[in-house]
Symmetry: C2
Subunit: 272 residues, 2 copies
Amino acid sequence: MAGGNRVPGSTVTSKVLAIMEVFETSRRALSLTEIAEASGVPLSTTHRLVGELVEWGMLSRGPNGGIQLGLRLWAIAQNAGRQLRDTARPFVQDLFSLTGETSQLAVRDGNMALYIDRVYGSKRVPRASRVGGRLPLHATAVGKVILAYSEGWVTDAYLGHPLATVTGHTHVNPTRLRAELARVREQGYATTQEEVILGSCSIAVPVFHTGHLGCSIALVVSSANAGTMTRHLPVLKGISQRIEAATAHIPLETLLGSVTGGAPLPPTDPTP
Amino acid sequence: MAGGNRVPGSTVTSKVLAIMEVFETSRRALSLTEIAEASGVPLSTTHRLVGELVEWGMLSRGPNGGIQLGLRLWAIAQNAGRQLRDTARPFVQDLFSLTGETSQLAVRDGNMALYIDRVYGSKRVPRASRVGGRLPLHATAVGKVILAYSEGWVTDAYLGHPLATVTGHTHVNPTRLRAELARVREQGYATTQEEVILGSCSIAVPVFHTGHLGCSIALVVSSANAGTMTRHLPVLKGISQRIEAATAHIPLETLLGSVTGGAPLPPTDPTP
DNA sequence: AACTGCTTTCCACTGAGTGGGAAATATCCC
DNA sequence: GGGATATTTCCCACTCAGTGGAAAGCAGTT
C-alpha cells in the first residue's frame, strides 16, 4: 500500500543502533511493540530488523517472546577494553581479598563514572553501581577523585552545569564541591557518604598513568563501618601503585577500547 | 560510476553484522581494509558503515586509526545474561577465596563451553579460557561435565562428530571418551590434565537446575598441583549446591539472555 | 462473541544504499 | 626529498533493498 513514506535522513544502520540503544536503559526483556515505541522505528521495520538481529545473536528471544540482548553480543563485547580490565583485574581482586569489601575500578566516560570492574563477595551492601554502569561524577568517590585530578578545564566544565541530586546527601553546591575537590587533592583520597544510595559509603584513590589520572579504584562499605573506612587507605594506595606499575608500559589509548577521557563534556544536557 | 552492482540477498543489517563478526575472532585493532576483506563487505561500504558504528560507539578508533570494539558496546552488553552472572558471582568469588585457585563458571553454547565468569588472583597459571571465550566441550573439565550430564542425544550428537585435538593430551577417542563420561557421572566430577593448554589442569562439578544440568563450575590449577586437585572437591560440591539453591527460583531461560542449551549442535562443522 | 494488545505478513513505491573508481592522505624505503 | 606503496576518504549515477501503513493472525480477558 504505502510505499516510500520513509523519513529522509534515516539510515538502516541508525535504526539498528536505535534499537540497540533501547537496551541501554531497560533491564528486562521487551516486547516488539515496546522496542518500536522506544526506538522510534516503525513497528514493521522493527519487526524485520529485530528478526535479523535475533537470528545473528545480537538479540535473543526469551521463553515468553520477550526480546533481550543476546549472549553472542555479550561474548563479543568482552573483547572491548580488555587491556585495562585484564591488567587491573588481579589487583582489584587483591584489594578485595585484603579488605573484604566491595572493590571497584572506574574511569571517566564523558561526565559520568563508568564502572569497569567490580569484585565483591556474598556480603550484602546496598549497591548502586554495576559493571558497565554509569553514575554522576560528583556523587561518587571515584568520580570525585576523577574530577579532582582531571585537567582544570574538565572540572570547570563539569561544575558549570547544574549538579543532579541523587540522594538527600549528594553534595550539589559547586563552590563547596570545588573546595571538597581541593581537599581530595591534598589528602590523596575522596569519600562519599550515602550520596548515591542510602546505606553505603565509599572511599577512592586515583591511579595515575604517565603523570595524568588514568582511573580510580574504590572500596564500598556499609554506612555502619563508614567511620573506619580510612584504615583501608594504605591498602588502596598500595594497590593503586601496583596498577600504575602494571599499566605504565601500555599506551593510554590502548588500555580501553576508546579514548574515554577524550570528549570532555558532550553537548548533551548533564542534568536529569 | 557503477550504480547498483549490489549483490542481491544482502541486507544492510547483514553487512553491519558481518563487520561486527570480524571482531569475534580478532583481538587486536584492525584497519578499515582488513575489516572489509575479512567481512566480505566492499571497502567503500565498509567505510560508511564503520563510520556510523564508530559515531555511535559500537566500534571505536584507536590512536593509530585502528578500529576496535567500542566501550559503549561493552557497557550495553553487560546487561546480557545478567541473571546468571550476578547470581552466581558471589559464589564463584567464594570458591576462589576458599581455594585460592582460578575459579570459573561455564555453560554450553552449541558445541562449545562458553565461559561466563572467572575469578582469579595474581598467581600465574597458563590460561586458555577467558570470560566470553569458548572452548571445545571434550577438551575441558567443565565441558566433560556438561557432556556427561546433558541429555543423551546431545552427547551422542557431539561424539558423532570428529573431535579436535587441542594439545597432545586431548582425549579424542569417542569410545574412550564415552567411558570417561560414564565415570564422570559416577564420581560426580570431571578432570582434565593439560588437554587444552600445557601446564594447567582442571577439575569441574555440575550445577543443576530443576533436575537438569544448568552450568558447571571448575577450578584451574597448575599441573604441579594436579595430584591434589581432588582435595577441593568438597568445596566445589558445596559451592555448586549454593548456586543451585540461589538459582532454583529463576526460570532457566531467563538466567541467560538466550536459550543457550537450545540448539543442540548447529549444522556448522565442529572440527577446526 | 466482542474486545484488547501484540505479532506477523503483504506489497507497491522510491530514495537510501551501493560500490567501482579516483583523489587525498599517510607510511615506508632508498 | 622524492618516488613507490598502502590506506583512507570522497564521489556519484543507478536501482533494488528497504519501507511502513494497513490488514490479517493470534492469544488472552471479559
